[in-house]
Symmetry: C2
Subunit: 328 residues, 2 copies
DNA sequence: GTGAAAGCGCTAACAA
DNA sequence: TTGTTAGCGCTTTCAC
């Protein structure tokens, strides 16, 4: 049991609780002598302030909420790692919750954040979120919410995204520079905001090149991507496959390997990715970077601004960068 | 601001705070009428109990600490995901902190756990931890600590590990079944408890087969593994490479691909892994499974026992399973 | 079946 | 420079 409290220290030293409290915070009012006595004794008794008591009294929790569909994901894990690291440096802790893409759990998690009186929330919407009540309640309570990755469509919210349109444009440019005649573009779940943005931008870029065949498909996970790729390769001869994400890429790679195909000779490959998977292969797969880490750092610094009231709601973008490999 | 409190509800209803408190917990003393009135009003006013106040009063935090070197890791992310999921189902939240393999941060993190009065801690030691004071303090405070992955050597602690010895034995068995004459075994940082256990067990298994050449090397990360593999392949002709972990495997795979080698024809491959990386390749790489998820679930259920005082300190093992691929 | 009161550990306004 | 006091929101014992 934690049994060293301000009261105990004050009793031993024969001074008041408030003096002890002040001394421990290096309040200038307190004489050096007293201060030192208090600090020494606190040290000796392993005093450790009760965070709940402090938070109850000050209404300032130094706790941030972070919700993702799942922690176990190439992208989210780097996002979380970055946020946690920056938060720690600023004296914040992070309460990380998974929604499992279940709107009911999402709602419960938001409630948990509220009950813990978090100072702010980072949230990636679950796939099937339609009811935004949980988030609206956050707004009522003046708890800033910074959305990332899969974000709501409404304006007037804090959103941190990668430059989805630009990344798709970059991909299109790279493809159009080459003499490819047929392009297979594989996207993720069409409900996701990132899917919509990337898909629209890619299609737009190809509109002025009607001679090039653009085959667009959607896959909810790696396995689906794998199957769809097989099916498409049975019917078509795309020169290049564009993957919207690592998850898609994984499925595509399996199919390619299963069929004994080699990139870039038999077919070219281009993806949007965190970088982990593309670098596992040789030649390295060319990708447009989505850095969970950069996104996380930006999200955290924006959160800090929100908490300090210095930020109107806006969408911030992490720039898209092409990382050349040997697959195009 | 959260402004609905028990007090407010009690004032509106003209009853006492304690009655409100009881009604909200479905205390049998309270009449159905009163109870319903209270519950309805609480609902209408979006009452959400202040977790800090509850914890301050009850000294029961429903909060668990979890510390890893980094969240962004194939193994830890699955461990964390499993713990978080099970914890949520039992009404616990998890405070996840990264040590970055820095003993100083590790100590600070433990302090943070204490200040937040967590009910228990899951900890994977940082690489260079020598000072166990932070953990001893946990013991003094009766806060159970469940170690996992990289665990201390001392007895009398709660440890959740995979069956490291057995996994190395399984690997050795599989290798010895084949006509391999030379084996390159790559291990991680020799300070890690898992490295020591796996290495010793593997060496032991080969002692009775002195004719087989066993080359043992250590690499601190993927890049080192990549370089070492190059160097070893320059000098030797191993028939098979055994990798202690995904991190090592990644480096080895790069070298193999760079050299245009193919498994299992030119060289065989065997690894201990979570499964993610081995399944990315075709043929799939044969591996002995370390399931972060299984470890996490076991760790959590053991933690629950510890919290309820039903558990003496012991080391629990997750069994090693061979997952056959096409690389041996 | 309900209320009064004490107190968890801390901070901060006000007094001295 | 230090102490007194009130109170954050909640639970729980004891009394009625």
């Amino acid at each position: 049991m934690h049994n060293t409290t301000l009261k105990k220290i004050s009793e031993i030293l024969g001074i008041s609780i408030s003096t002890v409290s002040r001394a421990l915070k290096h309040h200038p009012d307190i004489s050096l002598k007293t201060r030192q006595k208090v600090i020494d004794l606190a040290e000796a008794l392993d005093y450790e302030p009760n965070a709940s008591a402090v938070q109850l009294r000050t209404r300032n929790s130094k706790l941030l909420g972070l919700m993702v569909p799942t922690i176990s994901n190439y992208f989210y894990e780097t996002f979380i790692a970055a946020v946690e690291e920056d938060a720690r440096k600023q004296g914040y802790s992070v309460m990380i919750l998974q929604s499992g893409n279940d709107p009911v759990i999402e709602l419960e998690n938001l409630k948990l954040f509220r009950q813990n009186r978090v100072s702010g929330v980072f949230a990636c919407l679950s796939l099937s979120t339609t009811d935004m009540k949980g988030f609206e309640r956050m707004r009522e309570l003046d708890i800033p919410v910074v959305f990332f990755d899969n974000v709501p469509e409404e304006d007037g919210l804090h959103k941190i995204c990668m430059a989805d349109e630009k990344s798709a444009q970059l991909a299109a440019e790279l493809i159009l520079q080459q003499p490819y005649q047929s392009v297979l573009a594989l996207f993720g779940n069409p409900q996701l905001s990132i899917t919509k943005k990337r898909e629209e931008a890619l299609k737009l870029a190809f509109q002025s090149h009607p001679k090039i065949e653009l085959l667009v498909e959607h896959a909810g996970n790696s396995e689906e991507a794998q199957n769809i790729t097989h099916a498409m390769l049975d019917k078509h001869q795309p020169d290049i496959i564009f993957c919207m994400s690592d998850e898609i890429l994984i499925g595509v790679l399996k199919t390619i390997q299963q069929r004994g195909l080699h990139y870039p000779d038999n077919i070219a490959l281009l993806t949007i990715s965190n970088g982990t998977i593309p670098k596992l292969f040789h030649p390295q797969i060319t990708y447009i970077e989505t850095s969970g880490e950069k996104l996380g750092r930006l999200a955290f610094s924006h959160m800090l601004n929100c908490i300090n009231g210095n930020s109107e709601a806006k969408e911030l973008l992490v720039d898209a960068v092409l990382v050349k490999g040997g697959s195009v």
